[in-house]
Symmetry: C2
Amino acid sequence: MKYRLLIAYDGTRYQGWQRQAQAPTVQGTIEGVLEKVTREAVTLIGSGRTDAGVHAWGQVAHFHTATALSQERLAKALQALLPDDIVLRDLTEAPPDFHARFGSRRKTYDYYVWNGAWPVPFFRGYSWWVRSPLDRCLMADGLAGLLGERDFSAFQTSGSRAAHAIRTMFQAGLVASPRGWLRLRFQADGFLRHMVRNLVGGIVRVGQGRWSLEEWRAVIESRDRSRAGEMAPAQGLFLRKVIY
Amino acid sequence: MKYRLLIAYDGTRYQGWQRQAQAPTVQGTIEGVLEKVTREAVTLIGSGRTDAGVHAWGQVAHFHTATALSQERLAKALQALLPDDIVLRDLTEAPPDFHARFGSRRKTYDYYVWNGAWPVPFFRGYSWWVRSPLDRCLMADGLAGLLGERDFSAFQTSGSRAAHAIRTMFQAGLVASPRGWLRLRFQADGFLRHMVRNLVGGIVRVGQGRWSLEEWRAVIESRDRSRAGEMAPAQGLFLRKVIY
């Protein structure tokens, strides 16, 4: 039997998604619970990795099992045994050809920036505090320049396993609250390693006036990683949704 | 010299405000930093205690010091040395007759309820997850019944040091988002021990239909602690503001 999971997690305590021998990870934690429940060795395939400290509203994963437990009992057991920073939102039987990683058509990431005068302590694990004023119109203009199919090499961290850096961006925009919140949203057919955090780092430079829109466009066109600015911190990033 | 502090904190890690010998508390942590900076024994007087796990947007406190450090240097040193879950929002010289506890005229508390279908992991330290549907109109009606001067004995936890339980409630209402957030706000000239958490526990019963508005009003009038329902958990509570 193949099952598909929809999972939310608070990444604060974890060294990212991918299993590691010596450090707590989201994949490793869920696999441990699955093995306890099914009494089998289980490999959980996620839609992709998230970095240490990155959160997820809607990570998707699948696994195989020969367990005799019903779907409902399996879901209840998982919900009961998972730590409270990993939440099983849904468990469904998946068709045999479903693959959480290779089947994903689009992903949506959100990035939260807190642009207030002081670092609100409750937000510190879930946003990037940018103190200097941000020009939201410039940022929105700059984000719109990311739409469509292009080579995102300038925003890829070296060591990426991707064969090429051409991706199609379907959504790149921001919503701002009068109080100082910015939510940046990106939807694409795939993301390179650290791509969202590099994009956010760059567009915040634009918002601060440290880059003009022309410079920003030149960075995008350059396909040169050394041109991009510093990467935004992990804790503001949320994997929102994976579309199959 | 007397200084007045405006402080925000994430109460997750602390055994409340009040200094304890063996456990981390907010008062103890700030006093420790003040002593390091001023090289004096310092007693910090807060506007009042907060329970373990309760947060603050705007706690107010004062202390005396003979330090030669300027106000600006003192503020910078505090900001640099406080842990990142305690934030100094403001430091000002206070007039000699200012007293953070006895001078407070009103306080505002916010309580956040997350009424969604599943327990969002990022909210778990900052809200109470109530899964069953809540009738927000009934809740708003019930809250309005708290306004004015009355005896809040029914919502006081035993062991309270207060001489009497008569308080004046200036604000008691809620704001709801379509997504499932409820923010309950209470402003009064003073609060009894666990009063907000007891009020929230009761009004959620009303929202769930477990108490009618008549029963709720009877509980208020009863002045009998044993009549009130269970207390709402600490992590949804925020001391919003203290007014002098």
